[in-house]
Amino acid sequence: MLTTIEAMPRLRTAPALYDETRIALDVRDVVKAFDGQGAGTWWQRVSGKAPVAATQVRAVDHVSFSVRRREIFGILGPNGSGKSTLIRLLSTLLIPDSGRITVFGLDVERDERQVKRMINRVSVDAAFFKKLSPMENLLYAGRLYGLDGRAIREQSLEILGRLGLERKAIFEPMEDMSRGMQQKVAIARAFLTAPILMLLDEPTTGLDPRSKREVQAVVQDLRAVHDATVVLTTHDMDEAEALCDRIAIIESGKIVALDTPDGLKSRVARNGHEPTLEDVFMALTGKRLVTEEQAA
């Protein structure tokens, strides 16, 4: 199944990017807060002068890290800790309140279009035109990135075949497909544009064990064959451990630890067994829970 890698789309990268020591992604002191409903008057909100509401959520709170080229970088954290917000900031879908994000030295805000060409994103929800077939959806997506129809058709068949999607399903409306199958099409859509920075927001949530492995293999190839850099969020500790070179654990929008999987594990006490990544997660992200219980 892994033999047709060569047929995958070639990367459109400049030679200068083939430098292992280069920083692919740099995040400096980034903050993103969201207002609660109805803070300020209509005009204050539109003009960005709304008072800071009591209900404001700081989804990303002074986050800094950098990811080297060809690294697979994991982000773990409880629900609502700001992982998806961070991914959206990296993919130009949200503008940071403060701080700076650069992708291969280009600023996501100032050089938005060049950055957009280098990245793609897979989100938890497989977002498609549900009445359209996978092929029609991929044609749309591919053309937006300047690919021509024939190339899109050929490459889509390759990638979807490799991900184990039945050929028949490729031409049927997506609404009839299972979640796992839709997720594979979502991954194919991101692959099609040969991103050099791939942002994966829970790409394997809801997939069966075999599909999970297939997707994980694809992620590894993305690096091995295409020299891509990957940022990945997941709730699956085994997946994080198997794929990631380094892992950041975030809670309430803050990074509470950042290390290699082994480095993280060495931080927690061994309770009669080798600590697992899950132990690390529990130890580092449980604070709020404990204080709430103590308060009660």
């Binding site: 070639r10 459109r12 969201f34 207002d35 909100r45 539109v46 960005g48 998806s84 917000t85 959206r88 993919s91 130009t92 879908l93 949200l94 503008i95 309140d97 279009r113 060049q114 957009k116 060409r117 990245i119 793609n120 994103r121 989100s123 938890v124 929800d125 977002a127 498609f128 035109f129 549900k130 009445k131 359209l132 029609e136 044609l139 749309y140 997506a141 053309r143 937006l144 990135y145 300047g146 690919l147 021509d148 409306p173 859509r189 927001d201 829970e202």
Partner: protein, 276 residues
């Protein structure tokens, strides 16, 4: 693979046209229903003209009334389809859930808008032509006087002016995820009321007249009626064409600016889409 930037944008703009036609194909029964509805609606309006004599008991030139109303209903159909299809592009993608992927793609917003507009014009013309054909079966329509060329020029100028209005409307669902669609429909209702689609605007109350004067549809309809009913020459319609084109030249760039601003606002406040 390097592609020159223009070719890239042309391809990207075609992405929207192709996607929309694919969607029509997949929603073809809905499409059939819309067309039937459009035809029934046009006939119902046109029969008001035909029935005027019987209603009032007077001898009236109903063929003039029929033509007057027919022009109104077909032109309105065209303009409102175009306005909807441009105005609802964001809403539609938000509903499908694809909005973030479209906004993340390396495409100039202008290219995006050009693609959607191109589709909207083709789609609107297709609907209008089908309705016109169908109604022609039911009535004897005498257009021997008509200056079709001039009417078409006015219609195209009217389209240009409506594109900008549509683009501005498209921003609303980005700013107001829920209320945006309601606002678009409200604006459309106002155009329908104030633009003299089925009657001369002079019969409207004074407080509505300023809205009539601001609506590009008012000028488009006046011009098209003059060309088709009185055979007005293109030269005599040039002022109308000028006003409509000028409106477009102002509203389209304004629309693009407002759209970009709305996009930034949505990205700052997290309104683009949220879940996951």
């Amino acid at each position: 693979m390097t592609l020159n930037p223009i070719a890239h944008e042309v391809r990207a703009s075609y992405a929207f046209v192709e996607r929309n036609f694919n969607l029509i194909k997949r929603y073809r029964w809905w499409e059939a229903v819309w067309i039937m509805y459009g035809i029934a609606n046009a006939l119902a309006v046109t029969y008001i003209g035909a029935g005027m004599g019987a209603l009032t008991g007077q001898v009236l030139d109903t063929s003039f009334l029929v033509l007057y109303l027919l022009i109104g209903t077909v032109v309105w159909r065209y303009l409102s389809i175009m306005f909807d299809s441009i105005g609802e592009m964001i809403m539609w993608e938000r509903w499908e859930g694809t909005i973030e992927y479209t906004m993340m793609a390396p495409v100039h917003r202008l290219t995006h808008l050009v693609g959607q507009t191109l589709f909207s014009i083709l789609y609107g013309l297709f609907h209008a032509a089908l309705i016109l054909l169908a109604v022609a079966f039911f009535f004897h329509i005498d257009l021997s006087q008509a200056n079709f060329g001039a009417a078409l020029v006015v219609l195209m100028a009217g389209s240009i002016s409506f594109i900008g209005v549509g683009i501005i409307a498209a921003v609303l669902p980005m700013l107001y995820p829920e209320r945006g669609a309601q606002m678009i429909n409200f604006a459309q209702a106002l155009f329908l009321l104030a633009s003299g689609i089925y009657y001369p605007v002079s019969v409207l109350p004074a407080w509505l007249q300023p809205i009539s004067a601001l609506s590009p549809a008012t000028y488009a309809l006046e011009g098209i009626r003059a060309a088709l009913l009185q055979g007005a020459s293109l030269a005599s319609l040039l002022p109308t064409v000028g006003v409509l084109t000028l409106t477009g030249l102002i509203t389209i760039p304004l629309g693009v600016v407002v759209f970009n601003w709305g996009e930034r606002y949505a990205k700052r406040t997290g309104k683009l889409k949220r879940n996951g």
